[in-house]
Subunit: 361 residues, 2 copies
């Protein structure tokens, strides 16, 4: 059947298998004539080198592995819901890998497992990937970094928070994005702004909160404790926090939820409470999930270019795998975010906006 080997190609081209190998790998010191002969044979036979043979014999496996949090994945699997971040990350990595003749493998990693170190060695040992992409929250699992470094496997961390000097990373300035979003609300005239924190397990939660607080401070706005509630990135938690925040006699004119899902929860709560968005309450999220453009009103949010980030990560790894030396390779890449102002944020109602100076004066 299709089992064309390097021997067949060599025979047809009338050269040694080593020469075929040379042409295939674009090595130097190959004459034009040889290259042409081999190329012809390869094309005619439709030959493709066997991945396993290459990776067994040589030092590269043409494999990029993406490490994904197992818990999170299993949670998604249980609920039957997809994982938008994972999906976007993959698209980017997949496309870059494909363009460079690499393959992408997704591996689940449980950073809390007592056998983490062994599990990692296991995967790395059996796959021997040329590079590894770490997704949050694995990007910050120091044991994982340790193992990777011990084995000398290049890796790129997506959106890491701690130990920023280790390895390569591709990130977005979450703090600044949250800062900008807060400024967006302030510019609209909001002075009473609530915030819903994300799952503390994710670095992003802290950063987004810091950005919010910094912007509030800069604009001389008070951050009220009872208006900063802790969610966990789920719709439900958003609903609960929203309901709580909107229940009191005093309520904010705008709420900034640390991600879109929670924002939708708040939207639901507002709706049940008889509040119209953005008329009675401005609402902004973070992530630009697909739903953000379908919701009513459409949600103002921040778009993180996940696919691009993964693409960059894959490219960094592939260059690292192909370069002899580590010099001159990009190690840190900051991706640009976009604040997408849609319908859910607007100036506060005059009545409410006016109330503040009155109360203060």
């Amino acid at each position: 059947m299709g089992a064309v080997t390097i021997y067949d190609v060599a025979e047809r081209a009338g050269v040694s298998i080593k020469s075929v190998s040379r042409v295939l790998n674009g090595e130097q010191n190959v004459s034009v004539a040889l290259r042409a002969k081999v190329q012809e044979a390869v094309d005619a036979l439709g030959y493709r080198p066997s991945l396993s043979a290459r990776s067994l014999a040589g030092s590269s496996s043409y494999l990029i592995a993406a490490f994904v949090d197992a818990d999170l994945t299993i949670e998604h699997w249980r609920s039957g819901r997809g994982n938008d971040y994972l999906s976007r990350m993959e698209l980017g990595a997949l496309i870059e890998a494909r363009n460079s003749g690499y393959h992408l493998m997704i591996e689940l990693v449980d950073p809390g497992s007592p056998t983490l170190e062994r599990d990692m060695s296991s995967v790395l040992g059996s796959l021997k990937p040329d590079g590894v992409i770490l997704t949050p929250p694995i990007s910050d699992a120091s044991v994982v970094l340790d193992v990777l470094e011990a084995r000398g496997t290049p890796y790129v961390r997506l959106g890491p928070e701690t130990q920023l000097d280790r390895g390569r990373r591709v990130y977005m300035d979450e703090r600044r994005a949250a800062f900008d979003m807060t400024v967006h609300l302030a510019r609209l005239g909001h002075r009473e702004i609530g915030f819903i924190v994300g799952n503390p397990r994710y670095a992003a939660s802290r950063l987004r909160r810091e950005g919010f607080e910094a912007a509030m401070a800069q604009h001389g706005l008070a951050v009220r404790d009872d208006w900063v509630l802790e969610g966990d990135f789920t719709f439900t938690s958003g609903f609960e926090c929203g309901a709580r925040m909107l229940a009191g006699a005093e309520r904010p004119t705008a709420i900034f939820a640390s991600n879109d899902d929670m924002a939708f929860g708040v939207l639901q709560a507002a709706s049940r409470g008889g509040l119209a968005v953005p008329a009675d309450l401005s609402l902004v999220g973070f992530d630009d999930t697909p739903s953000a453009q379908f919701s009513m009103p459409q949600l103002t949010t921040v778009r993180q270019p996940v696919a691009e980030m993964a693409e960059t990560a894959a490219r960094m790894l592939i260059s690292a795998a192909q370069a002899k030396t580590d010099d001159g390779l990009e190690r840190v890449h900051q991706a640009a975010y976009t604040l997408i102002a849609r319908e859910s944020s607007a100036p506060p109602r005059l009545a409410r906006a006016a109330r503040i100076p009155v109360g203060q004066g």
Copy 2:
């Protein structure tokens, strides 16, 4: 470093490498004592067999490949949006693969490419996967099936429409689901129901439409040509079709969109047209995308258990790879769908519902 080989294990256990191999592969005729010795050594050394060596030497690669439509993927990638179907499919396949010690690889395939056959051989030749999962619309690409069959690689088709006798498949009864959904609307009292067809490229589009028509016929309801519009599964197309259908003096009391994204488009159109859902218009979709539970009103839709289906597919492939003979293996699996009635569907307003008999009497 972590480079533990089978030789190390054999040495430590005081046996031959072949024996280690036997234990690892669970072969028969291995004494308890041997098994114990080897197991001890494996555990102590944290040994994992090299995937590439195994696949090079043996007949299995411990790899499952999922073939995904390249165009579609690139489209998603361009728009920066994730692909919910892909994501859910992957979760299922990933979890099953992981449980059985297999690995999952995603490969992009362009079924329209003139070099499709060669591309396929390429991938199959270099990866030598033990099984392949085909996702729509690749499930129906006969050239792909041809190549797979020629190579003798087991494959499972997810939701195929044509050539149902070829290969294995896991599917959902789309027609019946659409039928049920239509009945749902009819039972609520709707008699004037519009339908938005999906992208003709997908088999599901036709099936859903057939289900709709069959149910209408069974309930003695007329299918009006101007109330059956053709979209392409995108939000925008849903918006346009919705706007068109709702513009006329006569408009349906309910609209069934072939997928959720289009339903959201209709929702938007209805909203702009001053129509409240479900008060003035009942609206139902198909797919249960994440947004369906966050939208307002929450969308009535059909949930396809994509993750489960992929899980089943992976399991079928793994059993096929492990079985000596093909006998007794499951080849066809029908997955159960769920009609999720949420807020967007309700009885038509009395005024409108009453109008019909008046007009007819």
